[in-house]
């Protein structure tokens, strides 16, 4: 990494960490995830509850925090004219946009590892059992990878939409309403970013949720992210700030 690249990413990281919305979202997600792990551990899931099942099941809900994180990181540039200041400091738009996404990915990865780890530990206490270390590491890695990719996809969509509420509403409707309804009924849903990535974080998934192997699923989600980032970068380069 060249010196300049590091500086650009560092600048974006400073901005990201200085936003109250990012801390609050990350913290709220952590707490909500741990509470859901207690709920899943206590309620039991069909097919018997293991520590990993109860610890990883909350990811399906807590991904909402990472979607918010991705959206807020981008749309915060559009309130109060922050973007004009940003572009005065970093006039090269592609560089600025990609630096933001890299620093966001770092933040999301860190938040995801902590969140998933905490959920698994809490689930372990509630279920009163242990998970094998290899499986736990695999679960954390897969879930953190999925959540980071989801954050990036959300950020790219937000950069295309440029408005907090519409971007968030669209993403939430996809991830929580349209996605689950489509995957129960149609084959193409296998390749949508939510369903394709399902086995990355929930290895025991069956049916269309289990159609793709974790690695194939990760490749499909990554392809969506690359596509969305390509569109958002092009849009960001061409539009007025």
């Amino acid at each position: 990494m060249s010196h300049d690249t590091r500086r650009w990413i560092h600048a974006e990281t400073t901005k990201l960490w200085s936003l109250p919305a990012t801390h609050l979202t990350a913290l709220g997600t952590l707490v909500a995830s741990a509470m859901l792990a207690i709920a899943f551990g206590a309620a039991g899931r069909p097919g018997g509850t293991t520590v990993l099942d109860a610890g990883l099941a909350p990811v399906g809900y807590t991904q909402v925090g990472f979607i918010i994180l991705g959206v807020v990181a981008v749309t915060s540039e559009y309130s109060g004219g922050q973007l004009r200041t940003t572009l005065t400091a970093m006039p090269r738009r592609t560089t600025q946009h990609l630096a933001k996404l890299v620093s966001l990915a770092q933040f999301a990865l860190l938040a995801a590892v902590i969140t998933v780890l905490a959920s698994i530990v809490v689930a372990g206490v509630v279920v009163g059992d242990q998970a094998s270390l290899t499986e736990a590491l695999r679960g954390i890695g897969g879930a953190a990878g999925y959540l980071t990719l989801t954050t990036l996809l959300s950020a790219a969509v937000a950069a295309i939409v440029r408005r907090t509420i519409p971007a968030l509403a669209g993403l939430l409707v996809h991830y929580f309403i349209a996605g689950p309804l489509l995957r129960d009924r149609t084959d193409f849903a296998t390749y949508l970013p939510d369903t394709a990535g399902y086995r990355m974080w929930f290895p025991g998934a069956t049916g269309r949720l289990g159609a793709l192997s974790p690695l194939t699923g990760a490749a499909v989600v990554l392809a969506w992210v690359v596509l969305a980032v390509a569109v958002s970068t092009t849009a960001f380069r061409r539009r007025d700030a």
């Binding site: 919305a21 859901l36 909402v64 907090t164």
Partner: protein
Amino acid sequence: MRAVRALSAYRGELSKLASLPSVWAACLVGVVVPAGVAIINARSTSVDAGFQELAFGVVGVIVLGVVAASSEYFVDGEDNGRQITTSLTVVPSRTRFLLAKIAAVTTVATALAVVAAVITLLLIGQAAGLSRMFGAVVYWVLTALLAFGMTLLTRNGIIPLALLILNTSVVTVTFLLAKITTLAVYFPDMAGIRMFITEVDLPVRLSPVAGGAVMAAWVVALLVAGFATFRRRDA
């Protein structure tokens, strides 16, 4: 005079809602989601066919309720001030302003719910009684007001939007909680859904009227809290 003022405040709120692109998008979602699922599900023979689709379509009025409140406070990309200062200059009485807003949200939510319910039930060929359709419409309107009340308290749409849409998902968080504590059946969505869904796998049975009353009580409590906060704090 009072009636004239109230009426013009109501008209103003309606025209504000109609001028928001998000509201039109919300209406589109509210019709397309249940109708789309109804088309895919066309051969379903469940007694709740059509009504289950409407339970998901409620996401349309969630967006409506959130945007009706949040658009007064925060629109990205606009530097000069918030709509609320203009709104309160035009309608200085905060009570009248809020009542007009609630009336406008109720009007749009009712219209949207009726259109969505008629289209969805026709598509699926559900010959259910009018009372269940009425229940679905009431559920949509109460959900819109719930979203509005929550956003009035937070003044920011992100949290209400996330919580409410998350909780409209196929396996809702409140449903999960109901597996742990029977108290969860008194959450507004779990109670309100009894107004039009008959097959629910929940520990406590509530009649449609009782369910509706529980949900309405939540909405009233939230709106009263929103009202009290809104009257006291700076715009």
